[in-house]
Amino acid sequence: MGSQSSEKIKKGKGLDSKSDDIAPEKWVEMLERMLLIRRFEEATVKGYQQKKIGGFLHTYIGMEAVGVGSIAHKRPEDSVITTYRCHGLALAVGLSPDAGMAELYGKITGCARGKGGSMHFFSKELNFLGGHGIVGGQFGPGIGAAFAFKYKNTGGVSFIHFGDGATPQGSFHECLNLASLWSLPAIFICEDNQYGMGTANHRALANTDMSQMAISYNVKGYRIDGMDLFTVHHEMAKVVEEVRSTQRPALVHMVTYRYKGHSVSDKEAYRTKDEVQRWMAKDPIQTVSAYLIEKGIRSEAEIKEIDKQIRTRIQASVEFAENSPLPPEEELTMHTFHDTLEA
């Protein structure tokens, strides 16, 4: 049986080259979505510092282009699943910041009625399948969604996001093999932010080019510059289309970075400020803003106004969360089961 070799890394070719295959208003929309995520996450850090948010908190700051550029191709019948670092994707998919923030505040109005918390955002309506806390735990449910789409012939595609740290977890390999063996419409999207907690990925992976792992399972592997919204959007358009039409899974290695610590308590001794700065220089929000201004699609003032409105929106969601009630006592054992057995 043959195998396809992985394609070369898709580097940002400069926004000018082919970016006009995206309609100007789509650019604005994606910028707004990235800003929404950024401002939401900034608010969660604040809420955490104020001890209004508990547990672990992992932000998506710096990785917005990966989520927004990929999810731009999600259709309503498609599903998305990811790790505990789930706020960004949930918002990219369309979760209301109110439901997200209220979840973080542990309120009954949260997207999981306050039971899930930061690591477990869910939305059935949006086919957002969570928010999973065990590294590698979401691969199975992710291919299960693809299995269900195929079973019911819905045409859906399953977006499975995961961290670089999850590739040495066995479940990744079991599931990629299963997806290929059974031709399930699933896209495995590695959000390689260079570290799993404090472990640089070359200290965890014998081969840090994850896209090459596609060969073991006879699927196509791609490597994409995840800091460049244009590239992500452009390449993922092709990948999603191909997975949808061929019903063959694909593996996508997104090269990206998280600006903040792994979680809020992380002291970040494993990397230099300088390194962080170098990556922040590629910030997708900055780049896209500059592009829109340069192209005359929006003025600097207009973008400031967008940002201001988004900040207001997030502030409203914080207030919504603050003012929402706690889950009532009867919620305690409720939902342990769906059915009530006759006594």
Binding site: G137, G144, N177, L178
Partner: protein, 327 residues
Amino acid sequence: MAVMEVRTALNEALREEMQRDPNVFVIGEEVAEYDGAYKVTKGLLADFGPQRVYDTPISESGFTGLSVGAAMLGLRPVVEYMSFNFSMVAFDQIISNALKMSYMTGGMFNIPIVFRGPNGAAAQVSSQHSHCMESIFAHFPGCHVIAPSMPKDYKGLLKSAIRSNDPVIFLENEMLYGFKDEVPEGEFLIPIGKGEIKRAGEHVTIIAHARMLHYALAAASELAKEGIEAEVLDPRTIKPLDMPLIAESIKKTNRAIVVEEGHYFCGVGAQMAYEIQSQLFDWLDAPVLRVAQSENPMPYAKNLEADTLPSIEKIIRAAKEVLYLER
């Protein structure tokens, strides 16, 4: 009433439920082309086709997780583990995903999966292949645990399990697959959480499930020869436990022993004994006694294997001890 083997009763249950609901599918190792390692899924591939019956690679964690996702989107997987020993490589998917999904999503998603397969010791399959998993799964909120003894119970409970909208751990027993008994004709269900008195008696209650139920019945026959009338109670469902039935029996007998095939420490017998002593303290004329495995992994050698497992003799001895006839 037709007389049939446990494996046939299970096969009928699967067929009826697959017929009834197109979202029910069967997945596991060798369940399709091979007809199942123990032939429980015999003929399903032929009759329902490859869209409903899936042979998997040896990737228990992978296909368990897959089933969780499929269930989240409305399918109703019946997952076969070739044996429940192999559920251990899928343990995290069962505990952290299947059993938590309903609760941690605030009831938004539910997981109608039946995890089934042989549980417990077969014959001389040694330390890694002889686990009884009932207490392990029952420990975690979010699933029902069923372990029947008789063909009719296997059938009626598997049908209920498949219709349940929650995860069910359905424990079969390899040594019982060939056991034959009467099964009602036509459609019937046995409710989850309901035990059954398999033999009535007034001197002592013997609580035993799965293969041990058969041992308990044999012990009761022996005891009867000595004038001791043991009541044999089959909980059938381990969790939730049918405490009303247990209470009714013990209020009559005032003495109980709890038999299980598995390990002793934190076994299901510990929970049952606790429930009994805390709820029926004033009704007990003697402490509840347990029969379980000796404290060692399962050995291969036939004689040591037999010494490890509960036996009819050990049950008889415990019954007499609780009656203060022997100590």
